[in-house]
Symmetry: C2
Subunit: 420 residues, 2 copies
C-alpha cells in the first residue's frame, strides 16, 4: 500500500524564483522518500485530474529548476469561491486527491492561494479525508500578511533598482540635447513595494529616481509637474518611477484599461506612457518611458541571492511542515536582525494570511510622498543583496530547463472546470 | 611645448559598453604618454569649449568605466550640416582645437558622427591645421556600414534574447487561464537588427518568439492575426517581438508619435501596445506587452562579453590609428571566421561609413517574413556570446562609477551653440 503522495501546485503570477521553491519541495520530499505529483496549471490541473509525475524527471532537471524562471508546471488565475458557493469543486478536489492517495497538498502562491489551501483543508476535515494543506508564499507584489517578505519580490526589486540605475545613467548622458525625463512603470497593483524598491537605485534628492509615484499616494498633477520641472532645472534631467496602481484623488486607477481578470482584478497597464506624455504636453520636455511588465518578474538572470535563499527555504520548510502534519499553515519568513541581516522560517496559520493584503507602511514613504525613507531602505536593501546568476550556454543564453512533465494516468471520469 | 592632446567625444544614443571604449581610449593614450580631454556632451562641449581633463581621474575610475553603462562624459543629439551650411561651427571647432592643442579627435558614435568626424578632418586640412580625425563605432542599431557589427549591439541583442526567453517562460506558465499573447517591443528605427536578435531566444516555429515583426517587412494585419491565432491554437500561447520601426504597407510607422528629434528622425514608441491591443480587439486573447526602451541599451548587467571585447578593441585601435596619423578612418570589426568565431580590427575610410545605413540582409529574414534564418543565427549568435557582469556592491547593486569630470580652463570667449 502506498504511503501517500504530495501534490505541489503553482498559482497566480509567476516569479523568477518560484521554480526554486518547486526544486526545494521536490528535493526535500525525495529525500524523505515521498513521491511528488505536480498539478498542471495549478488548481485547474488538480480539478481536471491533470497531474504530473515529477519522479520521472532526472535529479539534474530538478536542480536546474532552481535557476529557471516562470512556472515549470504551469500556473493559473482561477479562484475558488466560498465553500458554500463552490462546494462541487471542493468535493471534486478531495475526490481527485483520494483517487491518487494525495496526503499533502502544497499550494505555492499569494493570498488567494493561501485562502484556497485553507478552504481545501476545511473540506478535507469535513469529509474525514486525511490531508495536510500548506500554503507556500510567492509573489512579486510582496503583499502577503505575516511573512516579512515574499519570495519573488526580492528579485523583481533587484531588477527594478538595477534597471532604473542603468537607465538613469543613459538619461544623464542624453539630457543636454535630448531626453530630459524618463518614466519607468513598475508592477504592484495595490501596494507600492516595487515602486519603493526603485528608490534603492539612488540616494538623496538629486539621484535617480527623483520622483516615485506610489499607489498609496493620490496623484496630484500640478504638484507632480512642479516637482519634475524643478528637478530638470536643478539636476538637468528627471527620472520617475511610477506604480501601475497609481490612482487619482478620486481613487480611480490612472491607467484603467477597463478589462478585468478572472480574480476580478482590473488589468492595468499604460500609466508609464500616460505620465510621460503628460510631462511632454505640459512642460514640453522630451521624454522616454519603459514598461518592463513580465520582464520584471521573470528576470532570473538578475535574481537576488537573498530572494533565492528564501524561495529555497520556504520550499524545504513546507515539506517538513507537511510531513510533520502541521495543517493549514504557511512557512513565513521572520526577520530577526537588520544588520547583519538574519532571518528564519516559522509556520503561520493560513487563516491569518488568506485574503489579507499587506500595504506599504506609511513610514516607508517620505513626507512629500515622492521618495522612500531610511526605514524603507533598512527593510528593502537586504532583500536585493547578493547575485545568483544562472549558468549560461555556449550560445550566450541562460541554460533554463524544460521539464518532461509526464502525465499521471487518470483514474476518474473527465471533469469540466466550468462545472461547479 | 606641448606634444598635443587627444580629444574624445561621445555621440548619439549611448550603449552598455560605450564607456568601455572610452576606458580603452584613455588607457591606451595614457600608455602612449598622451593626455586625453573629453568633450562634455559630445560635439556640443567641443563647440562650447567645455572640455574635461581625464588625467584628473584616478586609474581605478578609468578601469571602472569599462563596466559602467551610459555615456560618462555626456553624449548629444546635435548634427552638423554640410561644411557650406555650417561653416561657422566647423571653424569654431578648429579654433577650440587649436586653443587646446588638440591634435587627435576621436568621435565615438554612429553614422552621423562618422560624417561629422570626416567633415572636421576636411575643414582642418583646408585650414592647414594638423589634426587626425578618427570615427569610433558605437550603436545598438548595428546599422554602420563596412564594420561587421557595432559595439553596443551585442549587449542590447543579448538583453533582448535573454529577456524574451524569460518572459516567454512566464507566458507559457500563465496561458491556460490568463495571458495568451505577449508582445515585446524592441529598438531599431530603420533596420531590424535587434528584432532579429530576439529570434535567438528560441528555435523552430513552436518556440518563442513565434512571430517577429521586422521594419523591413510591411505589416499585413490579416496575415499577422491569422498567424497569432494559429500559434495560440497550436502552442497554447504566442510571443511576438516587434520592432519600434514597424511600418504599414503605406510606408508609415505604425506608432508614429509625431515628434521629431534634432537629427530629423521621427521619435517612435508605442507599437508594442498597439499590436497587443490589436490582438485583444480582433482575437479576444488576453495580452501583455513590454517596452524596455532605454533599459535595453543600458543593461550593462547582462552585457555580452564579445561585445565588450569589441568595444575595448575599437577604443585601443582608435588611439593607435590616431597616433599613427591615419586620418579620417574608423577602426572596423572584420569577421574572419564564424566557427570558431574570429575577428580582427582594420581601418576603414570614414567616407564609406558616413551617413550610410546597413540594412538587415534579405536572407536573414524567413520567407514568411516572421522569423530569422540560419544565416542570421550564424551572424548573430557569436555577438551575444559570453558574460561580463559588473562588480556588485554590498547593497546588491552594480558598482558603477561616476567621474569627477573636472573642466579644463577656457581660453576663448563664450560661444552659443545656437550660433552657426
Amino acid at each position: 500500500m502506498s504511503q501517500g503522495r504530495l501534490l505541489y501546485a503553482q498559482s497566480g503570477g509567476v516569479t523568477a524564483v518560484i521554480n526554486a521553491t518547486a526544486s526545494a519541495v521536490i528535493t526535500a520530499a525525495r529525500a524523505a522518500g515521498v513521491k511528488v505529483y505536480a498539478a498542471r496549471n495549478g488548481i485547474i490541473g488538480a480539478l481536471r485530474e491533470d497531474l504530473i509525475d515529477t519522479s520521472r524527471e532526472p535529479i539534474a532537471a530538478i536542480r536546474a529548476l532552481a535557476h529557471t524562471p516562470g512556472g515549470a508546471f504551469g500556473s493559473c488565475r482561477f479562484k475558488l469561491k466560498t465553500i458554500e458557493a463552490d462546494r462541487a469543486r471542493y468535493e471534486r478536489l478531495i475526490e481527485v486527491f483520494a483517487a491518487h492517495d494525495i496526503r499533502w497538498f502544497l499550494y505555492n502562491g499569494g493570498n488567494d492561494s493561501a485562502d484556497t489551501a485553507n478552504k481545501v483543508s476545511q473540506v478535507a476535515r469535513e469529509f474525514g479525508y486525511p490531508l495536510t494543506c500548506i500554503g507556500v508564499p510567492k509573489t512579486v507584489d510582496n503583499d502577503l500578511a505575516v511573512t516579512d517578505c515574499c519570495p519573488g519580490f526580492g528579485s523583481a526589486a533587484k531588477y527594478t533598482a538595477v534597471s532604473l540605475r542603468e537607465a538613469a545613467l543613459d538619461v544623464a548622458s542624453m539630457a543636454e540635447s535630448s531626453t530630459k525625463v524618463f518614466v519607468l512603470e513598475v508592477m504592484g497593483r495595490h501596494a507600492g513595494w516595487l515602486a519603493a524598491a526603485a528608490g534603492l537605485a539612488g540616494q538623496g534628492a538629486d539621484e535617480a529616481p527623483h520622483i516615485i509615484l506610489f499607489p498609496e499616494v493620490p496623484f496630484d498633477e500640478a504638484k507632480f509637474l512642479a516637482r519634475v520641472d524643478d528637478t530638470v532645472r536643478r539636476v538637468g534631467w528627471c527620472v520617475v518611477a511610477v506604480s501601475e496602481g497609481l490612482r487619482g484623488a478620486d481613487g480611480r486607477f490612472l491607467a484603467d484599461a477597463g478589462t478585468v481578470d478572472s480574480f476580478g482584478h482590473t488589468q492595468l497597464g499604460g500609466v508609464g506612457p500616460a505620465i510621460a506624455q503628460l510631462v511632454k504636453a505640459k512642460l514640453g520636455y522630451k521624454q522616454h518611458w519603459a514598461v518592463p511588465d513580465y520582464l520584471q518578474r521573470s528576470a532570473r538572470h538578475i535574481a537576488s541571492k537573498t530572494d533565492l535563499d528564501h524561495a529555497l527555504a520556504v520550499g524545504e520548510a513546507a515539506v517538513k511542515l507537511a510531513l510533520a502534519g502541521q495543517n493549514a499553515v504557511m512557512p513565513a519568513i521572520v526577520r530577526t536582525s537588520n544588520a547583519p541581516y538574519r532571518w528564519k522560517i516559522e509556520p503561520a496559520p493560513l487563516a491569518k494570511i488568506a485574503n489579507h493584503e499587506k500595504k506599504l507602511p506609511k513610514n516607508f514613504i517620505c513626507k512629500d510622498g515622492y521618495g522612500i525613507t531610511e526605514a524603507a531602505r533598512r527593510y528593502l536593501e537586504p532583500l536585493i543583496r547578493g547575485e545568483a546568476p544562472p549558468p549560461y550556454g555556449k550560445d550566450g543564453l541562460p541554460a533554463y530547463v524544460t521539464l518532461k512533465n509526464a502525465a499521471v494516468e487518470k483514474k476518474l471520469p473527465a471533469y469540466d472546470i466550468a462545472d461547479g
